[in-house]
Amino acid sequence: MSKTVSKRLTTVAMLASLGFLHGVAAQTPAPPDPWPDLVRDLFQSRAMTSDEIVALEAPVRAEDAAIVPMTLHLKSRDVGSATLVIDQNPMPMAASFKFGEKAGVGYVAIRVRVNSYTNVHAVSETRDGALHSQVKFVKAAGGCSAPAVKNLDEAAAHIGQMKYREFRSEEPGRREAQIMIRHPNSSGMQMDQLTHLYIPAHYVDRVDVRQGDDLIFSMEGGISLSEDPNFRFSYSPNGAKTISVEAHDTKGNVFKQEWPIGEAS
């Protein structure tokens, strides 16, 4: 080996050992597309048509990884259910809604966690049994934003507290309301490396919302739903005087509340 080559190799070895070579040589591979597996696991590989029966409104970029607003707009009264899937999240199924037959839900807006650059799918089923899907790409939040609970002490201290608001609806014949539930909706964590104390996930897994006895919607959710689950939606009033919520979490807690519906404006 000539002196020059050996010197050059030494330099390369030195730089490599300092970690300088790494970024030059290695390229980050694109993550595999999880969607085919999700179609199999969540929708039993059933065929879907790509259309806008349920239109998904999602931001181009997640601003805060822990709170990303997304809205499902129901374009047909035949939609019986709709599921929001965040493909690259650890638990992709964020929320799955079943809509009451006469509820006339026009939209439902929720907030979710977005861990990384990801496709987000809205998959709906019309009452004829056909599946429809729409997809949007969402860029991950930058900086120190994380899909974690911001203020765990606060969330834990008020767990189960609820709030109800009504809004004037721009859709004729519909009313608009919002239901908020205090809950850390936490994904669980490994506490420390020495004791390996593990805190299990603790999240709201079911929420039923009714006007009188009639179902408006029922949601099954997971850890991709943001802390303090928040639902804003429109519906067709059936004349009932109250709106009620029953929420369940993974520790078996049941939270119930009922509010009078305001006079139609």
Binding site: G19, A146, V149, K150, L152, N230
Partner: protein, 307 residues
């Protein structure tokens, strides 16, 4: 040929690194108090994550490090620069909170006789966010993420704690959720120098990752701390105290006011996040990178607070 190109590239990259290393600034801003100014930027491979202000306080027999920067490479340059200033051992490594630009250099300081000090919530924040940060910053930092490990505190501060560096006492104070849920400040009694961590932003738009209302309240309480100068988490290395708080308070107040009226009007979170705080846009760097995020989180918080 290809090998030559690769070698040239490697050489160029390493020269760039050395240039960065050569310019790692560390100034004595008060007797025995050192500070380094990070760039007002997002963390990336070129700046090696060096975007936060970090510093050190030197007593008669020990050194306390305040934040470790955004990479192990930066932290090693910091250590080398400190060795030019003192031969005393590093006894404490204090993290002002859990964000990557303040803790990613921690691994460079691990060794016998070194305690890592943080807010009582720091370990929890690192546990729930650490893996995500390591994964999330891989793309932005490239090979500058090499060696970064999540190092948990060995000494925790519940409320207040005084550390003695030998003839020099520093007061640590843990705050309720504000910028984050594990903010810690450090006051050097001797020189009246306050290290605020990210409870104070200058130039760089403030970031709300704990509680908007908490941040405003804590800013009011911070103002009462009897210090004469402050090293903010971001922006100029040193500023006058407590006057330096004014810009941040104005921003947080405006954001709160805008969000409250949007909530009252019945706006949804996405619309409100686009509009709130925009009148402050010209006053700050990186405004478009963080304001909508602050507004989103602030909206979700204030919704509970608005009748």
């Amino acid at each position: 040929m290809l090998r030559c190109v690769i070698l040239a590239l490697v050489f160029a990259v390493s020269c760039m690194r050395l240039a960065v290393a050569g310019t790692f600034s560390l100034e004595e801003i008060a007797p025995g108090v050192f500070a380094h100014q990070g760039q007002t930027a997002l963390m990336n491979q070129q700046n090696l994550g060096d975007i936060a202000n970090i510093g050190a306080i030197v007593g008669e027999n020990a050194v306390a490090i305040i934040d470790t920067g955004g990479s192990v490479i930066e932290a090693r340059m910091f250590i080398a620069a400190m060795q030019q200033k003192t031969s005393l051992p590093i006894r404490y490594v204090i993290n002002t909170h859990a964000h990557p630009d303040h803790v990613f250099g921690n691994a460079a300081f691990v060794g016998p006789g070194v305690d890592f000090v943080g807010h009582k919530n720091l370990a929890r924040a690192l546990a729930s966010r650490g893996a995500y940060y390591l994964e999330g910053f891989r793309a932005a930092l490239g090979d500058a993420i090499e060696g970064v490990k999540i190092i948990e505190p060995t000494v925790v501060v519940d409320d207040r704690l005084t550390l003695d560096l030998g003839g020099r006492k520093i007061q640590l104070r843990a705050w309720r959720a504000a910028h984050s849920d594990c903010d810690l400040t450090i006051l050097d009694e001797k020189t009246g120098t306050l290290f605020s961590g990210d409870l104070l932003f200058l130039q760089h738009v403030p970031i709300v990752d704990g509680s908007l209302l908490g941040f405003l309240e804590v800013a009011d309480e911070l103002a009462k701390i009897p210090a004469s100068r402050v090293v903010p988490g971001h922006g100029p290395m040193v500023a006058q105290w407590p006057g330096a708080l004014e810009g941040e308070r104005a921003y947080l107040s405006r954001l709160t006011g805008d969000l409250r009226s949007a909530i009252k009007k019945g706006d949804n979170v996405a619309d409100a996040a686009r509009a709130a705080g925009q009148s402050e846009r010209d006053a700050w760097s990186l405004f478009d990178d963080y304001n909508a995020r602050n507004a989103t989180a602030g909206f979700a918080e204030l919704e509970w607070d608005t009748p």
